[in-house]
């Protein structure tokens, strides 16, 4: 599904040049669950942004489903993104002004799904995530675990092929964290490819493979399953 080769990303300010990704190469196959680990500043987040088509690399190649996307413009990236990729963030990133239902509905709106169909799919998803009873609440009225379940629901409601999770349990206690990890595992078992950035060895053990990064390069890869 994903094949990157010699990927480079350099941040420049007036005086300092920071190399975030240094000729990084790896690949992720369909249906895999990959964890990316490494200390702060090793380039994990930059990698995730590029994989999520939120940012573009300075050099190297990025094949997404066999298509070279490294130099797509914003419009093309956005189009590809909304059809194929779901995001889960550490800080949930729900829109405070929208209800649970409306937050989950959002990707379907931007995909142009009709109202009836949207309602059906959102309700299905909320049911699955066991937050149907909270559908008309606003994010601030929910616990962290519930918020992250909403975020996961939103990430998968348009049935993406790939989920990018950025420390999905970082703001949760262990019980809620485990629940979210179970959810992701379920999704993976149903065929969704998952790439997850995490600091937690415990969470990483849910994945099939761990990529460890340092200074913008992969250092080791452990295969778990």
């Amino acid at each position: 599904m994903i094949r990157i080769h010699d990927l480079e990303k350099i941040y420049k300010t007036e005086e300092v040049e920071t190399i975030a990704l240094n000729k990084l190469s790896f690949q992720v196959n369909d249906g895999e669950f990959v964890a990316v680990m490494g200390p702060s500043g090793c380039g994990k987040s930059t990698l995730l942004n590029i994989l999520g088509l939120l940012d573009d690399p300075d050099n190297g190649s990025f094949l997404f489903n066999g298509i070279e996307v490294a130099h797509f413009n914003e419009r093309k990236r956005a189009d590809l993104r909304k059809r194929n990729i779901g995001f889960v963030f550490q800080s949930f990133n729900l829109i405070d002004e929208l209800t649970v239902f409306e937050n989950v509905e959002l990707p379907l709106i931007y995909l142009g799904v009709k109202g009836e169909e949207r309602k059906k799919r959102v309700e299905e998803m909320l049911d699955k995530m066991q937050i149907m009873h909270r559908r008309n609440h606003y994010p601030q009225q929910l616990s962290g675990g519930q918020q992250q379940r909403v975020a996961v629901a939103r990430a998968v409601v348009n049935k993406p092929k790939l989920i990018l999770a950025d420390e999905p349990t970082g703001n949760l206690d262990s019980a809620n964290g485990n629940e979210v990890m179970e959810l992701l595992t379920d999704l993976n078992e149903q065929g969704t490819t998952i790439i997850m950035v995490t600091h937690s060895e415990h969470d990483a053990r849910y994945s099939h493979r761990i990529i460890r990064m340092l200074d913008g390069q992969t250092v080791t890869e452990n295969i778990l399953a």
Binding site: A78, L98, I109
Partner: protein, 793 residues
């Protein structure tokens, strides 16, 4: 999708109530101000456009060249109207009008009709004033025919049909027939009258021969030309026409008129020949400009507050982009929000305008509009304007917000930094530049008004009660009765008083070279008591005196302006020189100091005074301030006893004179109101901006306090930044205001100097207002416990 936008827009507005409130209030105030100004401007521009033939109606005016000066009159001589229509086939009709104050009596009901108008019979053919009863073609044909307006007719006839009935006209009690009833004339009409009297009353009964008097002025003449007439070609034929009909007299009198045509639609706003009660195209421009400025200020507020808040909205933008929103969709969403805001403001504007309209009408001194909801297309226009404002004001913030990169905003690393700060500062500076310009302008307008009211006019206007006897035969008897009364200091009679009209007379005065120089001199007929009672100062010679028998017919007093016109370098030189005026000849016996017999807008003109009891209809009574009501009621009793046919009415000279400044006063008041609004809206914006800026700097303030900064330090830090912007605005606004107001003042012959003080006052005022606005936020931030702010990070 649209529903989603509106939903989130509504919730967003509600959640950020302060922000929304400032924006909606600012937009509402500015839209209300603009709407009112629009109504005013529309009204001013609508003058006389209700006549269906307005495009073919012209007013005939005259430039009259004498050996001494060029006079610009508002009408031609009496003969022009009847002759011009005979001479030129291009004309369909000509109408002369002249105003008068006529006594009308019906049984016990008597009124001095102040808005009487003599008009030629073609009046209803040329103009579209609606005749409800009577025949428009013949109503004004016969002498002593009257057409009443509805409200005037009501005074005499109640709900009865007045047509065919009679009233008694003038003090002589001539029987006049009511031949028509017309709708009250619209407010936006140059011609206004409550009562029309056939012109033949004047030309056949009161003053036969008027139709052929080429040297007698004092009427307005309007012509209706046939469709397709070339006005310039028509005008070019006038000199030959005058030469043919009146060439000999022109040469003999050495006065040469030039006839000019003014399009009717331009007369009210653009002609300078209308006297006091007229519009001014410059005021229309000025208020339009003010409206645009006020709107700009509110739009700037919107842009400022929205971009200042961008950090808050950034997360939403990021999320929406991550889940698949395109930039264009986000742009549309944000524009939608600003449009929604404007639509809310539009609704408020409608309501508030409806509430304010009566007071605005009062402020403007006329019924600009009877109701907001009377005019559907105005409301539609306002709605379109609101949508347009929403679109324009929302465009920039929408583009900025929708271009945020999700990568940077979602990780919380996003800071507004210096982004847009320069723009916001620029906009604040422009807002305050506009506000300060308006403040300076207001101060100057008010100073000029004060100056005009308090300037020494050169005559005594205090405690001076003036009664018009309208040449009643009992006027002398009344005067004698009043002069002996308790509470009356002195009594004088004259043809004119300062601030009112006076005749201009064809005069020949011996000039310095000894020649008899022709000039049109302003003329006051007075009695022996007038000059002392009005405290007019003699510079040379003497005042009129009963000791000199010849003074009643052969004496003239001139003012300084007049002797300058005739070449004298000192008042003394003019004494003893000869004059000839309106059939009288004699000597100049005195020269008086110039006094302002017209408003301070006008230069003091050459003025002559003569004794002429027949011409003196105004009685000026200098009464003591003690027991004023009792004295007035005594005077009224005397009047009712001696002149029972006429209603008793009077005015006080100081009020009367100040009336000339009423339109300036209104201008000043309107200007003050709109300037205050502009300042208010600017401050609203500043308040919002200050609160966001302090919010963003909470952490910085916390750190500074931990490091030992005092509350004063912090307040200075936060306020200082905004004061700097105001200072820049003052520097930009001052020359603009100076330039604009310098040219405004050119309309006044006597005017104030624009002093440095005015700018300093405005600067201090603006700085104080800004400081008050900002310091509240600054103090709040400065006294907060730093622990709280540092913990939030």
């Amino acid at each position: 999708m649209l529903k989603n936008y509106f939903k989130i827009a509504f919730r967003n507005l509600w959640r950020h109530r302060v922000f929304s409130f400032i924006n909606v209030i600012g937009l509402t105030i500015s839209m209300t101000a603009c709407f009112l100004i629009f109504l005013y401007v529309h009204f001013e521009l609508s003058y006389d456009s209700f006549h269906s033939k307005a495009d073919r109606i012209y007013r005939v005016v005259t430039d009259l060249k004498t050996p001494s000066e060029m006079l610009h009159t508002g009408g031609p001589s009496w003969a022009v109207g009847p002759h011009i229509v005979q001479e030129f086939p291009q004309l369909e009709a000509a109408v002369r009008t002249t105003g008068d104050e006529l006594l009308v009596r019906k049984g016990n009901v008597k009124y001095q009709e102040l808005n009487s108008l003599y008009a030629d019979s073609a009046f209803f053919k040329v103009f579209d004033f609606k005749l409800l009863k009577g025949d428009p073609a013949t109503a004004l044909n016969e002498p002593l025919s009257i057409v009443f307006s509805q409200s005037a007719a009501k005074k005499y006839f109640g709900d009865q049909d007045p047509v065919g009935q009679t009233v008694l006209l003038t003090g002589d009690g001539l029987t006049a027939k009511i031949t028509g009833l017309m709708e009250d004339m619209p407010e936006n009409s140059l011609i206004k009258a409550d009562m029309l009297v056939s012109m033949t009353t004047l030309t056949r009964k009161f003053n036969p021969g008027l139709d052929d008097q080429w040297g007698n002025y004092g009427n307005s003449t309007y012509i209706l030309v046939k469709p397709g007439t070339r006005i310039s070609a028509l005008q070019a034929q006038f000199p030959a026409f005058l030469e043919r009909r009146n060439g000999d007299e022109m040469k003999r009198l050495n006065m040469y008129p030039t006839l000019l045509l003014e399009p009717l639609k331009d007369v009210y706003l653009r002609s300078t020949r209308n006297g006091n009660n007229t519009g001014n195209i410059n005021n229309v421009y000025i208020f339009s400009l003010v409206a645009v400025f006020i709107l700009l200020i509110a739009c700037f507020n919107f842009v400022n507050l929205t971009t200042a808040r961008s950090a808050e909205r950034a997360k939403e933008v990021g999320i929406r982009k991550v889940v698949g929103a395109m930039k264009a969709q986000l742009t549309a969403q944000f524009i939608g929000e600003s449009v929604l805001l404007c639509v809310i403001a539009f609704l408020f504007t409608l309501g508030i305008t409806a509430l304010l309209l009566p007071s605005f009408n009062q402020l403007a001194g006329k019924i600009i509009s009877t109701g907001v909801f009377q005019n559907g297309h105005f409301i539609l226009l306002l709605l379109l304007a609101a949508l347009g404002i929403g679109l324009l004001a929302g465009l920039y913030p929408a583009l900025v917000l929708s271009s945020f990169k999700p990568v940077s905003v979602l990780k919380g690393r996003f800071s507004t930094g210096s982004r847009g700060v320069l723009l916001r500062k620029g906009l604040v500076v422009s807002q305050f530049t506009i506000s300060i310009t308006l403040i300076i302008a207001t101060i100057i307008v008010y100073n000029q008004m004060n100056f005009m009211r308090n300037q020494d006019l050169g005559f005594n206007k205090d405690q001076m009660m003036v009664i018009n006897t309208n040449s009643d035969p009992a006027k002398e008897a009344f005067r004698n009765a009043v002069s002996g009364m308790a509470g009356v200091k002195s009594v004088a009679m004259s043809s004119s008083v300062p601030g009112g009209g006076n005749p201009g007379a064809y005069s020949m005065i011996q000039n310095k070279k000894g020649e008899m120089q022709i000039a049109n001199l302003d003329l006051y007929f007075v009695d022996f008591d007038y000059i002392p009672q009005y405290h007019l100062k003699l510079l040379a010679g003497r005042a009129f005196s009963r000791d000199f028998q010849t003074d009643t017919t052969q004496a003239m007093i001139l003012n300084e302006a007049a002797i300058k016109l005739f070449g004298y370098s000192s008042p003394k030189e003019a004494i003893g020189r000869r004059f000839s005026q309106w059939g009288r000849e004699g000597m100049i016996i005195g020269v008086m100091k110039d006094f302002h017999f017209r408003s301070l807008q006008q230069e003091i003109k050459p003025l002559s005074m003569r004794i002429e009891p027949n011409g003196c209809n105004l009685i000026s009574i200098n009464i003591s301030a003690k027991n004023l009501p009792a004295t007035i009621s005594d005077i009224e009793k005397k009047w009712n006893a001696l002149i029972p046919a006429r209603p008793f009415s009077y005015f006080f000279l100081d009020d009367f004179f100040d009336k000339q400044y009423r339109s300036e006063e209104r201008f000043g008041k309107l200007f003050l109101n709109f300037a205050a609004l502009a300042v208010l809206i600017s401050c609203l914006g500043l308040l919002g901006l200050a609160s966001y800026s302090t919010m963003q700097r909470t952490r910085e303030i916390g750190i500074r306090k931990v490091l030992g900064a005092s509350v004063t330090n912090i307040v200075n830090l936060l306020s200082g930044e905004f004061l700097k912007l105001v200072a820049i605005a003052i520097i930009i606004a001052s020359p603009i205001a100076w330039f604009a107001m310098h040219s405004w003042l050119q309309d006044f012959a006597y005017r104030i100097h624009i002093s440095l003080e005015i700018f300093i006052t405005a600067a201090i005022l603006a700085a104080l207002i800004a400081l008050l606005t900002v310091s509240f936020q600054a103090i709040k931030a400065a006294v907060a416990n730093p622990v709280n702010s540092l913990r939030t990070e």
